[in-house]
Every structure is written in structure tokens, then in C-alpha cells.
């Protein structure tokens, strides 16, 4: 089986660990070998949280710079920060709703222009899917379902061997019961949105 490498970056609290978990469970359901790695600890202190997920025949759980086949960013400036993870063939998905770091508020840095973010991502990677995932999460019924919206967009790209049906099942069985309906709706909205890009 081909190896496919996925990097997800987010800000602590945005729920990328749950998105990774759902992907892993879906891979398990389909019998696809999966290895994941994530850095915990600082997640709830507002730092950057990164997950790497390797599907198919490989042993490593982490992904080196320039080796991601698909890249998902939950926050636009974080997409640029982690751009070095990509290669020319990478399919990139980013949420466009910004979460400026606190350093910007105290004048210790300048937040990049969103247009500049999308230009650079489009210029350097193969396909860019950029949209406001927060808006779609709100439409799904809960702003916290941004992770499921982006998961939907990710699956639409078809880069990963994981299919939508397995994801739906993993959402239904592995996310909190009270949120399953919202999560499923968010997933579908993200999937449909990606098809437009």
C-alpha cells in the first residue's frame, strides 16, 4: 500500500487531537495501517499543537520537513509557519478564520495578511482549499466542530486511503454522543465546501 503522510497543525483547544483520533479509528475500521504522533502537554496553554498521521506501509510516526502529502491547518498564520512541512505535490487545506497569537496584541509581532497567506500557499503547493471553517462550524450548530469541518474537506481531496463512510462511523462511535449529529453535519459541510475549490 502507498504511504500517505498527513500533517495537522492547530492552536491548543481547536480539537485537532480529536480529528486525528477519528482518522485513526476510521483507518482501523478499513484495515489500513496507521501510525500517528502528537505533542501533548501545552495544548491547553494556547500553544501550537501538531499531529502527524502516516497511512499505509511505513513504520515512522512522525513526518520530516518537505514530506507531507496533505497538510491541514486550523488557523491561517499557522499554515504559513508550518509550510516547510510541505512539498510541491502537497494538497493544502486551511481554515481562514484567524486566531492572532497574544504576542500580536502586545506588539511583539505582525499578523500576516490573509491574502498573503493564501497567495503563498497556492503558489507553493499543488492544490489549495482555503475557507472559513468557523462559519461552517457555526452553521453545523457548534463553533467547536471546526475540526470536523476540516476533516470533511480533507476526505474530499481523496489523497488519503480513508473513505467518508469510515469517517462517519468513527464520528458516530468515537465522539461524544451529544455532539454526533453536529459533528456529522460539520463533516458534510466541510466535504461539500472542498468540492467547490
Amino acid at each position: 500500500m502507498d504511504t500517505k503522510r498527513l500533517i495537522i497543525v492547530a492552536v491548543g483547544g481547536q480539537g485537532n487531537l480529536l480529528a486525528s483520533r477519528v482518522l485513526g479509528e476510521a483507518a482501523l475500521l478499513q484495515g489500513i495501517p496507521v501510525h500517528m504522533s502528537e505533542i501533548h502537554g501545552m495544548a491547553q496553554r494556547g500553544g501550537v499543537v501538531e499531529s502527524s498521521i502516516v497511512f499505509g506501509d511505513a513504520e515512522s510516526t512522525i513526518i520530516s520537513d518537505g514530506e507531507a502529502d496533505v497538510f491541514v491547518s486550523f488557523e491561517p498564520s499557522e499554515a504559513l509557519r508550518a509550510l516547510g512541512r510541505c512539498k510541491k505535490e502537497t494538497v493544502t487545506i486551511t481554515n481562514l478564520s484567524p486566531l492572532p497569537p497574544f504576542t500580536v496584541a502586545i506588539g511583539k509581532g505582525v499578523y500576516p495578511e490573509i491574502d498573503n497567506v493564501t497567495e503563498l500557499l497556492a503558489e507553493k503547493t499543488k492544490r489549495l482549499i482555503a475557507f472559513d471553517a468557523v462559519k461552517l462550524a457555526e452553521e453545523a450548530g457548534n463553533v467547536l466542530s471546526v475540526n470536523m469541518v476540516l476533516l470533511g474537506a480533507l476526505i474530499e481531496t481523496g489523497v488519503l486511503p480513508v473513505n467518508a463512510e469510515a469517517i462517519r462511523e468513527a464520528i458516530s462511535t468515537k465522539t461524544k454522543k451529544a455532539f454526533v449529529d453536529v459533528n456529522l453535519k460539520a463533516f458534510e459541510l466541510g466535504f461539500a465546501e472542498a468540492a467547490k475549490h
Binding site: G24, R45, V48, S77, N116, L120
Partner: protein
């Protein structure tokens, strides 16, 4: 039922490395477990804690790592399978017990897990704890994958009983915090009770006894080496005249790399999972057939030096490479591309071309450092201390926990951070040799862990400083584990006692003790001023529940705040002095992110225009 107690052999489950280790221990029939939490090992303890609430597994959050090893050592000397879990630096705390326990040994299997943290994702150093195996004379096992972490945990118990010695299970962050598919095995029935057979000539380490025990330990080590030479944990893959010797997670990078380089028929690999004592015969047989050997190991040249010694003892002169220029670094962690490239250059193989995108025209992205949470009471305490000591030249020793983050501007309340508990003892040194005021910070859990010893030392030796105990009623940084000061009833657990910090501090002989609620700035500042004026050791206990913990208990009831734009004159005292992450700026004006605001009202007390007001619903 807890998922790790699932009794369904053959079922495949997605598990975090730490879950796999906890499951391995359950399958081995572990009955007694103890831990002081520390990233990257924390989820092992958490799973033991959860399982102990619905089974006869014993688990305790011990006060520190040394205590966890000692309680487990006693259980293991009653024939009960025991395990204790710690992060790498915890092993330093436990080392006193560990090194002599190696002399005494165990009668039931005992596994000591050390989770090392190359790159220091959440640690103060990246020490390589394989050396503890060498120092103590104990076997060290190192899994290379999540699935193997479970199997090796079981094997560690068997090895421990075969040798009558505790076994060190050594992981790194990329094992603990990786996730993979694990197949469940049979669960061995737990034997929760044992008996202590008195044997003073083995268990009482007076010099005359220990002289004999050291002989026994060396004999055990020789036996361990013999086992390691034929253990399936040490295995050779592939063939060729080029050799790689590798341990731990690097094995996965080597395997992927050799495949990418198309070199699986040129390079053979010796994976050492049972890495201490070095299986010399096995290593000798492996390197004899090689023209060149590359040792791939994160951290120190632990195997490399031992392999070179084997070559020297046997008159072999083949090049053995590992650490060095153009080779591997002793710093940080490895990654697949790094390992692949070094294998290619060392063995003169055609490298895989880099596909990295050019990032030279990407603008600098503003940093996103971790920050104290919105509403964190530590921020309020730090602010109060700064206000109470305006104009004074103060040294602020701090300690290990969320509050270490107070070292960053604008709070700037951390000048010296060494190790768990050192705030109280370093304060004594600073105050003795400088004429400056010293105010130190320690969290509740760290105070119990080891900070209290420095405080008692300070009282006895009549030192002069103020200790602020940041009592947020929980162990915050590692994810809300209990400590001896925690109200366990509130957490929903019965059968515990609680230790009152104020009573403890007073009993230790501190003459000036005050307790403040940090959200009340005026009273806090006044109490800190008084404490600072006191000659001798004074203690201020800043007592307020961790905001995240309070939120999880649904106790966060404060109103959210917003800046009234008509009243605000843009002094920016709020944003400039407390740096709460709930502040944002819009068009040069300060706003509060209502989603994040925890309602602590610190900023409202600081604003000179009283422009920060509760949001009206």
C-alpha cells in the same frame, strides 16, 4: 468498563503508546502501581488511576518519584507484581532508592518506567536514562513502536522475575505520545496480596550485607547479558556487509529510510530492544560480518561506546560511526529524513532528493508561546507580587509547573528554575549571599513533592525570604492529577485524606504565614507587603482553584468582562501589565475575547478608568 480492561483477546484497538504500556501491565497481571505524574508519561498513570476505580488494581499518586519506587519495592518484595511510572527527571529523585533496590532485588516482578523527552517538549533537560541501567546494574528494555510497547511491558515483568531484579522500561516521547493499532492479549489474573518473608541477609543493607549483595547483583547482570544475547527483543533484519545498530523509535526511521534508499539488501540491522547490559556476544557476531557499522541512537553515544569497546576487546578495526560531525547529534530528537540522509552519506548510497518547498519569502510569523490561561490565578498573584515590591530589587526563584511561564514579560516573575522543589532551597542560597530580597514561587503539588524540604531547611537555618505557595488545588500542568492537598471528595473519590498546607507550614515553624485569595488584588498586595517586610522565612499561600479545573467541575461562575469604549482612555495598563490571552486589539483599542474571558476580574481592578465592566446579558 475502562477500555484497557477489555477482556477480548485478538481485538484490535487504536491506542496511545502510554495506553499500550498500561494495557501491557494489565495483561501481565500488575496489581500494585504508583506514580508521580510527569509528561510524557502522564497518561500511563491516568489509566492506572481510572482502572483502579473499577477493579482490584491498586494505584496511588505518590507524593514524589522516590516514594513511588519505595512503596512499589515493598509490594514487589511481597511477591506482588508492581510498576511505577515517571518522567526521566523523576528518576533522579528516585535514584537513591533505585540503586540500592538493585542490591536487594525483588520477589515479584517490578517494572520502573522512565519516559525520556528528547528535544525537551515538556522538560527542563534531555538526559538519557539508559545510563541509570548502567549505573544501577539493571536491565533496560526499549520498545520501538506502540504495539511493541505493550509486549515489552509484559516481557519486562517476566524478565524481572527471572532475574529477581527490577527492570527499567525506557521510552521516549515519540513512543509515549504516538498512536498505533494494538492487538489485545490475555489478561493474567491479578495477585493483589502477598507476604513478606523476612530475610535480613538480603533485605537489610548494612555494609556487611551489601558487600555480598553487590556480588549477587553482578552475577545477575551477567545472567541478564546472557538472556539479552538470545532474547527476541534483540534481532537482526536484512543482510549485507554494512551494519546498523539501533534502539527505540529510531528503528522505525531506519526501516523506512532503508526502504526509501533501496538498500534493504545492502544493510543489515541489529535492533537492540534489550539494550543494557549490552549483549556482547550478539554484537560481536553482528559486527564481525560488517565492513562498516553505523549506530543510530537518540541522545548519548550509549550503545556506540559499548560497541566500540566490544570491537577493541576483540581486535576488530572496522569503522564504527555514530555521533559526530556529519553524523548524528547528541542533541534533540531524530526524524526519518535525518536518519535516511545520514545513512546515505555514511554508507555512500544515492540519497533521496529533497522535495521541500522554498520558504524564503514567507514572512516571519508572530510567535505563539504557551501562556498562562485566561483567568489563571497565578497571573493575579504574580501581578500582586510585582505591585507589592515596586521599586525593590527582587530575585524570583521559581519552580516546575504552569507558573514557570510567569518568567515571561510582562510578569517577569521567574529568575531561576532548576528542578522540582528547588524554589525553596535556592531562595536560601540567594538570600544569604546577596543583599537582595528573595521571593520564590512553588505550586501545591511541587511543594508536597520536594519543596517542603527546602522550607524546613530554611526555618532551621534561619534564612530570610518569602515563599509564595501557588495553591491552585490540583496538579495543573500535567492534566489535573490529585496531590495530597486536593479535595478528593470533590473529584468524586472516597477513601482519601487531605493535608492542609497552612497547617503544615505552621507546623514546620514558619512564623509569618498568610493565606490570600489572589483574585482580590488589594488584600493580596497588602498581605505580600507584610510578608516581605518580615525578617526570616515568611509564607504567603495564594489559594484559588486552577481555572481549567474549576471549569471542569462546572464551578466557574464569574461574569465575563468587556471594555467600555466610552470610558477606556487607552492607558493599556490591563494589556501591558498582566498579558491575559483574552485581550485582543482592534484598531489600536483593547478588546476582551468573551469566549476566553474566565471572569477573574483582575483587569477590572487594574483599569485606572474603571472601564472594564461585566457584560450585561
Amino acid at each position: 468498563m475502562h477500555k484497557l480492561l477489555t477482556d477480548n483477546p485478538g481485538q484490535k484497538m487504536l491506542m496511545l503508546g502510554n495506553e499500550a504500556i498500561a494495557r501491557g501491565a494489565i495483561e501481565a497481571g500488575v496489581a500494585f502501581t504508583a506514580s508521580y505524574p510527569g509528561t510524557p508519561s502522564s497518561e500511563i498513570s491516568l489509566n492506572f488511576f481510572q482502572m483502579s476505580k473499577e477493579s482490584d488494581l491498586y494505584f496511588e499518586y505518590s507524593i514524589n518519584e522516590k516514594v513511588s519506587v519505595e512503596v512499589s519495592a515493598a509490594a514487589a518484595n511481597c511477591g506482588v507484581r508492581s510498576m511505577c511510572v515517571m518522567k526521566h527527571v523523576g528518576m533522579n529523585v528516585a535514584a537513591d532508592a533505585l540503586l540500592t533496590l538493585a542490591y536487594i532485588g525483588v520477589t515479584g516482578g517490578m517494572v520502573i518506567l522512565t519516559a525520556d523527552d528528547p528535544f525537551m517538549f515538556s522538560s527542563q533537560n534531555e538526559q538519557d536514562n539508559r545510563y541509570y541501567g548502567k549505573l544501577a546494574g539493571l536491565p533496560v528494555l526499549e520498545p520501538s513502536s506502540v504495539a511493541e510497547a505493550k509486549e515489552m511491558t509484559k516481557q519486562a515483568f517476566e524478565l524481572s522475575e527471572a532475574l529477581g531484579e527490577p527492570v527499567i522500561l525506557r521510552t521516549t516521547t515519540r513512543i509515549n505520545h504516538s498512536t498505533g493499532v494494538v492487538e489485545l492479549g490475555d489478561i493474567t489474573e491479578r495477585k493483589t496480596k502477598g507476604d513478606f518473608i523476612k530475610d535480613p541477609m538480603r533485605c537489610v543493607t548494612v555494609p556487611a550485607v551489601s558487600r555480598g549483595l553487590h556480588v549477587k547483583l553482578l552475577a545477575n547482570l551477567a545472567k541478564a547479558e546472557e538472556i539479552a544475547c538470545t532474547s527476541p527483543m534483540n534481532r537482526v533484519d536484512g543482510e549485507g556487509t554494512l551494519g546498523i545498530i539501533v534502539n527505540g523509535v529510531s528503528y522505525s526511521y531506519v526501516k523506512d529510510g532503508l526502504k526509501d534508499l533501496g538498500a534493504t539488501d545492502k544493510v543489515k540491522v541489529l535492533r537492540l530492544g534489550f539494550s543494557n547490559p549490552l549483549p556482547k556476544e550478539l554484537v560481536l557476531g553482528f559486527i564481525k560480518g560488517c565492513e562498516k557499522v553505523l549506530v543510530v541512537e537518540e541522545g548519548e553515544p550509549f550503545m556506540e561506546e559499548a560497541v566500540k569497546a566490544v570491537a577493541q576487546e576483540n581486535g576488530l578495526t572496522l569503522p564504527i560511526c555514530g555521533k559526530g560531525e556529519h553524523l548524528f547529534s547528541r542533541l534533540y530528537e531524530f526524524d526519518p529524513k535525518m536518519v535516511r540522509n545520514i545513512m546515505a552519506s555514511c554508507f555512500e548510497l544515492a540519497p533521496v532528493p529533497s522535495q521541500s518547498v522554498d520558504t524564503s519569502n514567507v514572512p516571519e510569523i508572530p510567535n505563539r508561546p504557551p501562556n498562562l490561561c485566561a483567568g489563571c490565578s497565578h497571573r493575579a498573584t504574580f501581578y500582586a507580587v510585582k505591585q507589592a515590591t515596586q521599586g525593590m530589587d527582587v530575585i524570583f526563584p521559581s519552580d516546575i509547573g504552569c507558573y514557570t511561564l510567569g518568567f515571561m514579560p510582562p510578569l517577569s516573575t521567574g529568575d531561576f528554575v532548576l528542578c522540582m522543589g528547588a524554589s525553596t532551597s535556592t531562595s536560601a542560597g540567594f538570600s544569604t549571599v546577596t543583599d537582595k530580597k528573595v521571593i520564590s514561587f512553588v505550586g501545591d503539588s511541587t511543594f508536597f513533592h520536594s519543596g517542603i524540604m527546602g522550607l524546613m531547611n530554611a526555618v532551621f537555618n534561619n534564612h530570610n525570604f518569602t515563599l509564595v505557595i501557588l495553591d491552585n488545588r490540583i496538579t495543573g500542568m500535567t492534566g489535573h492529577q490529585p496531590n495530597p492537598g486536593v479535595d478528593m471528595d470533590e473529584m468524586g473519590f472516597e477513601g482519601y485524606n487531605s493535608i492542609d498546607i497552612e497547617g503544615l507550614v505552621k507546623a514546620a515553624g514558619v512564623k509569618h504565614v498568610s493565606v490570600v485569595r489572589p483574585y482580590n488584588l488589594k488584600k493580596s498586595i497588602a498581605a505580600i507587603k507584610e510578608a516581605v517586610e518580615f525578617e526570616g522565612v515568611s509564607v504567603v499561600i495564594a489559594k484559588e482553584k486552577c481555572t481549567l479545573y474549576a471549569k471542569s467541575l462546572k464551578q466557574l461562575t464569574g461574569k465575563k468582562f468587556q471594555v467600555n469604549p466610552d470610558k477606556c482612555k487607552n492607558h493599556r495598563d490591563c494589556i501591558d501589565t498582566i498579558a491575559c490571552p483574552a485581550f485582543t486589539t482592534e484598531g489600536g483599542r483593547v478588546r476582551i475575547n468573551e469566549e476566553m474571558c474566565a471572569g477573574c476580574a483582575i483587569c477590572a481592578q487594574i483599569c485606572p478608568e474603571n472601564a472594564i465592566l461585566p457584560v450585561k446579558k
